[in-house]
């Protein structure tokens, strides 16, 4: 049953565009899916290595901008009059570059910020995201600043014998997001169940003990940061080519907060957590928009966040698992409380 559950979930998700025809709801499904991928990547850092990165939206935004600029092309002049002209490239190259460049940024940020822990780590990551946001806002020649990058081409799918198919529609994008989401899920699940994943959990539980048994802390933290940033970059690329317009607001701190709420509500350090949390917080705006203004929705978000930390600090998925008494041997170990 436990093994079948992910497969059943994928089938259930895949059936959505077949019976759901309302464009607004389908749109909510696609954006929720994109944010679930981002939340899964954050969970790798927050849930498995225990590092609360509040600058995660930086990698999402970098992915979105890299992918959009690769496929749109640009013409800028750098210091010293060097002119850089880039002709538009196909969208899939943009996607690959988004993953690679976000991953490289994850490496650099990890190298810098893992020198400090706790509150200082959090503040360094936020600072990084804010600096990137200000660059996106002020480097108008490259990013158009607040005017936004518009007419970003959609993903194209090469069909043998049929030429190319532009993925304009919501259903087509939904399947694309689902497919990439499944790939990311598999990557994260393989990673966390491997030796590497156990090393990560070990340093979350007790860093000095992990060091004493020979785990190279920085190496594993950076590995997690790179993987996590690369997946967030992929989500950002999906976002850019789905919405087809992006502005510096993709770097908003509230997006990071949304990802964090999704992860802690669902259950950090569980594979299903970000998906459950993502579904809940993806659809609260859909339900709430009929009776609440955007501000009151955010007030609700904030209040729920406090409530969840108070009432259900472990998250929904671990609570359900405890309720049914199904605790996978591997994951059961991962949830041992750290020694106080």
């Amino acid at each position: 049953m436990r093994r079948l559950l992910p497969l059943l979930a994928v089938l259930a998700f895949a059936s959505i565009p077949l019976w759901l025809k309302d464009p607004y709801l389908l749109n909510a499904c696609v954006t929720t899916g994109i944010f679930i991928i981002a939340a899964m990547s954050l969970n790798l850092l927050l849930g498995y290595t225990g590092q609360l990165s509040l600058g995660h939206v930086a990698f999402f935004g970098i992915g979105a901008y890299v992918s959009a600029l690769t496929s749109l092309g640009f013409d800028i002049e750098l210091f010293g009059g060097i002119r850089v002209v880039h002709e538009p490239w196909p969208v899939w190259i943009g996607f690959v570059l988004a993953v690679i460049i976000a991953g490289i940024c994850g490496y650099l940020v990890g190298k810098l910020s893992f020198r400090v822990r706790g509150a200082y780590f959090v503040i360094v990551t936020i600072s990084f995201a804010e600096v990137v946001r200000l660059v996106a806002l002020n480097w108008v020649e490259l990013t158009q600043g607040p005017l936004a990058l518009t007419s970003i081409p959609p993903f194209t799918l090469g069909l043998p014998g049929l030429g190319y198919l532009d993925l304009y529609g919501k259903a087509a994008n939904f399947y694309l997001v689902l497919a990439i989401g499944v790939v990311c899920y598999v990557i994260i699940s393989r990673l966390t169940r491997s030796r590497v994943g156990r090393a990560m959990v070990a340093l979350k539980e007790n860093e000095s003990l992990a060091v004493s048994v020979g785990i190279d802390v920085t190496r594993y933290l950076i590995l997690a940061a790179v993987t996590s940033a690369a997946i967030a970059g992929a989500a950002g690329s999906l976002y850019a080519h789905y919405l087809r317009i992006i502005d510096p607001d993709v770097f908003m701190f509230l997006y990071t907060v949304t990802m964090v709420i999704m992860v802690i509500t669902g259950g950090k350090g569980t594979l299903a957590g970000p998906i459950v949390g993502g579904l809940i917080f993806g659809f609260i705006p859909v339900v709430a928009r009929s009776f609440a203004s955007p501000e009151s929705q955010w007030i609700l978000y904030g209040a729920l966040m406090i409530l969840i930390v108070f009432v259900l600090p472990q998250g929904i998925v671990p609570a359900i698992e405890r309720w049914f008494g199904v605790v996978d041997e591997n994951e059961g170990r991962a949830k041992l409380e750290p020694a106080k």
């Binding site: 600072s127 804010e130 200000l134 907060v257 964090v260 203004s293 955010w298 406090i306 930390v309």
Partner: protein
Amino acid sequence: MNEFLQHIVNMLILGGTYALLGIGLTLIFGIMRVVNFAHGELYTFGAYFVYLVSTVIGVNFFLSLIIAVAFGCILGAAIEFFLLRPMRGADIDTTMLVMIGAMIVMQNTEQFVWGGVAKSVLTPFGESTLALGPVSVSWLRVFVFFSALALIAGSYLLINRTKIGKAMRATFQDRDTASLMGVNIQVIYMATFAIGSSLAAAAGALLGPVYVISPHMGDIASLKAFAIVILGGLGSIGGATIGGFILAFAEEVGAGYISSGYRDAMGFLIIILVLMFKPTGLFARSERIG
């Protein structure tokens, strides 16, 4: 040269209020180990409260400053009692999440109540200015600067010369020992958060009338306050004061001579550079408050 002097004058006014923000946060973070994301919202709260009391209700401007600070104190005590007291003993990340939730609630409540349009406060100073050689400064700014200095001096005396200040310093050094010596930790925590919050509200109440008041003015004030704390060293009031002026100087000079778009980036660059090269801050004499 005149332009530079004008930047220096602006730096002094901005720096005084930044120092108040930084002192409030360095007390809260130092003594309670709470990463107070709501700090910037208390700053916004102070600014809006002055607007409410002085411009909407029509109370005397100076009296409304005092009322705003008093309500900042009450709000801080309430946050401590309802949100932080139940979280005692939780790890730093958990309380951080609670404070982020509080930040989102407060920020959007301000937006909800006041709308997105910026407000400006009517002050009794009007347009009159003080000429200081080549630069002229409005009397409002002069008043703001000296009020900030008075509050900085007041908090220094509070921490170093009073009984509760002594208890706060003891709690900062070693909470358990302080508790064994008869210091009521719960009272100290609530006092710390209330004092820190009222200093943030005072910063907003003073700086709000100088510029305009908008719901998003506090968005990065918390992070700027962190930049100041990191720069000055944890728990150091003197460090936070100097840190506030350094940040204001970096912002003024950065905005004036590099690019005004990157004004807010200065604080973040300071955070990154200080944590990379001198993580204890520039002025920390070991971990000591005062």
